[in-house]
Structure formats: structure tokens, C-alpha cells
Symmetry: C2
Subunit: 317 residues, 2 copies
Amino acid sequence: MFEALWHDWLQANLPTHPRLALGFGDDAAVADWRGDPHCVLTSDLLADGVHFRSGQHAAERIGHKALAVNLSDIAAMAAIPRAATISLLLPNSCAKDWVAQLYSGIFNLAAEYDVAIAGGDTNCWDGQLVISITVVGQLTQRGKLTRSGARPGDAILVTGPLGGSFLGRHLDFKPRVQEAIALHRDYRIHAAMDLSDGLTLDLARLAAASHSGAELTLNTIPIAAAARELALATANSTGEVRDELELEQVALGHALSDGEDFELLLVTPPDVADRMLDQQPEGLQISRVGEMVAEQGLWHRGPDGRRLPLPANGYLH
Amino acid sequence: MFEALWHDWLQANLPTHPRLALGFGDDAAVADWRGDPHCVLTSDLLADGVHFRSGQHAAERIGHKALAVNLSDIAAMAAIPRAATISLLLPNSCAKDWVAQLYSGIFNLAAEYDVAIAGGDTNCWDGQLVISITVVGQLTQRGKLTRSGARPGDAILVTGPLGGSFLGRHLDFKPRVQEAIALHRDYRIHAAMDLSDGLTLDLARLAAASHSGAELTLNTIPIAAAARELALATANSTGEVRDELELEQVALGHALSDGEDFELLLVTPPDVADRMLDQQPEGLQISRVGEMVAEQGLWHRGPDGRRLPLPANGYLH
């Protein structure tokens, strides 16, 4: 009977949206799709103990993250998010208020990004909490933005400081949806993706999809304050004495591979990168972190200027 | 690294589809959406031990079911399924071949129903198997078919025998997609849904959505052979001696409330029902099982002809 109660609760609490020709409560939802005839689809599944910890994190933040990771994928395509479905698998022991707060986190972000909640599926079981969300979106007139258009000589950019998201940003980040649409409209971007698994791992994927390689200039990687905080906390907890330079190296490691930054990774012609760095549009902190090269793989320069391979050891969930 | 391996496997094994302007491997998929500007969305999540048992059921049948329940929802809207996303949460102990067979069950059904697999998300954890699928579809020129259009005096129809799906049909059923589109094209249907939770419970929902009631004629319910088989097996296993009539009553109970029949429940004007019963279109076994009434609730007639309430005790997952 638990699912039936949730059905009634959702019927009463689901936000409505003018885009829905038919909302929650029927066999499927119907969304109006006028405009560009391309449908952008993405799904992300989050599980307790893997992507969040229900015992530690507030339900609303977990709900926020579950939708935000999907919106970040939509942003990576420079598409407009339109509608979402939410499937939940709830522990039988879950308190109703807690689940209502989880939904709240989803609904608030959906309202902020004008996403219609088109329904979903609520189930209960003996296991842990699982949240599976699908977002459908539409392309703008500029068309799609993919991972595969990067060319040797292009500049590699990121839209904000990286690393240490584990300290909280992985739950509370704002997906770069409007920013991506504006950048795609105003600049010639060859390739893009969102940074979910760490700069090195994600860049290696983008490079592979573009049949080329990438060389990072490690002293230009923007390191988030949280990455430095994490480096210091780890040093303190292990009792190891580390100097400034060593701490900075550890923080750089976090920036390169922690993941869940959900900033945009952009690849543009060098002159477009110059313009973007100069203008810093959309309130972003854009940094140039390297360039695409012909040799496949991930690279950096050693102290003597020689090209060395860089391991793509990003965070894997 | 397990997810990364699955990513590579999917990249190599995912079926391609001409509808995909961009398939698996980027941040999101892009499907071409020309035609009716309405997007139909549905999501269903299946969990081990709740909707199937991975220890008992073949992986391919589980995969088939996970997509089929979604296609059945699309059928209930008389829509055309277009694309699907698949999110999996795999036990760490899952054998690769087993998962490949699970995907096989999904891919084969997708091919049969011309559904583009637009990607998804593969994760691993310590818990049990979870499969979350979303299907997007498009309406035909006839528009949507909902639960809410039934009127008192309308006939209630079902497209096949009911009950006992637990013996195997709940895994292997064929969603009524083409049939629903053809019926919606050729007949005036006031309301429809798919039978997932049992005739009584689902009909009670349809009646409530239509702000009316429904009266079933219990001696016209088409009872599936599997429902009778289940009645007999239960009697044999408990050692109770039951006569024909008692067994038939138990079988009727299965037909009314087992659920997972995935036949269509249709409500039409009486003359349309007559025509449909006469013509039996699309190779279906259509039966008339009752009529819509003004008094809200679910009803049947007692031996003396008086209207009695019928409990909506359908199977709840």
C-alpha cells in the first residue's frame, strides 16, 4: 500500500507546468514539443552509498543533486531542458517527511530551470535508496554541441575552479545550463562536455571521441579552495608535515581527478579562446588549461619541456 | 573500473538507429522528432526481489520485461514508442555474460518495436539489481488516449484473458503497442489504460480519473488458463478439496486482482463496443466485462440483482 500512498501524495504535490498537455496520473505524460524537432535525452541513476549518503546528507540536497547531474548533461549539449521523469526506489523504513524533502529538492531545482516534472515511478523495497531521473530537452537553433569536434591546435578551457567537490559542491552545484546555451550562441565551440569524473578522465574521453590527444599545462589548472582545504585536512589527519609546494601538488591532484565538478570543459579555436578569456561571459571564471594535439592520449610537459604521458586517473564511481 | 568496462561494451554493442542524430557515448543522445509535436514520456523501475527474481528468471526475460512494461504504458496512450534510455544498477558480483543477456532481452524487444536505444547509465554497487527504463514516444494524428474520458453508460472491454501472469506471462508478454494504435485509429475510444495492477484496482483508477463508477459483470471476465492452473496448484499444495465451482471462483479472483496482465482496458460507447466485439480486430480476444455508471466506486450485481460494492484489491507491488 506504500506505493499507493506515494501516488496520492505526488498527485497532490507535483508541480504543474504549462508545457504538459497531460501530467502525472495517467499511463504516461504528454509534453508539447513545438520548436526544434530534436529531442535530447539523458538519464542518470544515483544510489545511496555510491553517489550520496542518506545518513549524512540532507534529503533536499540529495534530490537537488539527482536532478542537477542530469541537467549538467543537458548543459553539455547546450540544449534546453524541458521535462523530467523521476523513478524512486525507497527503503521500506523511509520516513514520509524525508522523502517529501527529497522530492522538494528535485522540484525546487526543476522550477528554477523551468523543467516540467512529467511523472515517474515510486517503489519500495528492503534495499537502499535509488533515484533514477531522465531529462528530455531540445536543441537551440545552434544545434548540438558534442565531444567529438575538437581538432589539434584548439584551446582547452574550463568554466571554473576544480577539485574538492567532495566537501559539498558535489551536492549543491548549479548546472551550467544557461551558460552553455549562451556560450554556444556567442562563440564558436568545437567540442564540449561536463566534468563529472575528473578533468583528466573526462578530457581523455573527449580527446578519444575527437580522434586526437590533449596536452594539459598543469600550472594553469584552476584549483578550487575546497581542493586545497582537502589537501590540508588530509595532511593534518595523517600527521605528515608538508610544505606549501607539496600541499599545492596534492591540491592539483584533486583538481585533476576528484570529479563531480560539473563545470564545462570547452574546446575552441585559439582566437575564440582568447576572446572568451578576455570577456569572461556569463559570470564564469574561464581558464585555459591546455591544447589539443594530434598524438592520441593525454600529455603534459616535464620541467625540461619534453612531452610526458599523463595518467587519466579520474575519479570512477 | 567496472562501469568503464560496461561503457566500452555498450559502445560496441548498442544497436544503432536512424532516428538517432547522436547516439550513445556523448553526454546525452539526440533523437529526431519530426511529426506530431507531442512528446510522450514514461518511466518504470524494476528491482530484484520485487518485480523479478534474478536467481530464478533468465536474464533475457528480465530485460524483456523491463522494457515491455514501459512499452505497455506507451500503448495505453496509443502512442508510437521512439527512443529509450536504460539505467542499470548492477550487483558487484554480477557476471558479465549475465548482464550481456539482460541487455540482449532489452535490445531484441527494442528492435522488434523499432525503439532507438538512446543510451543510459550503468552503475555497480553492493546491493541488488535495479533496472530503470524511460521511453519517449509520439502521439499519432488521433491524439492522446487517456484514463479520464469514460462516461456513464460506456462499455468496459479488455483485450485478452486475465490472471495467473505470475506463472510466466508477467515476463514474456507482448505490449499492445500496434494494437492500441490501430484500435484508436479505427474506433471511438473514450478511455484506456494498461492492466498492470489487476483489473479491479486499475479499473477503479480509471473510474476515479473519469469521475464516475464502474460495474463489472463477474461472469463475463475472461479467465486465463494460467489463472485456473494457479487455482488448482494452490488447492493441491494446501490439500484442500475444492469442487469445479470453487476452483472457478478462485481463478476469477486471480483474473480480477493478480495484475501484470498488460492487456488493454478500454472504455467505449456501447455501439462501438458491439462493433469491436463483432470484428475482434488485430487478432485480439476482446471481451466486454461491464459498464461505466454514475455512482463513483467499483460495483457488481449480487444474485438478487442488487448492486454491491466490489473491493479494489488488485495486486500491489
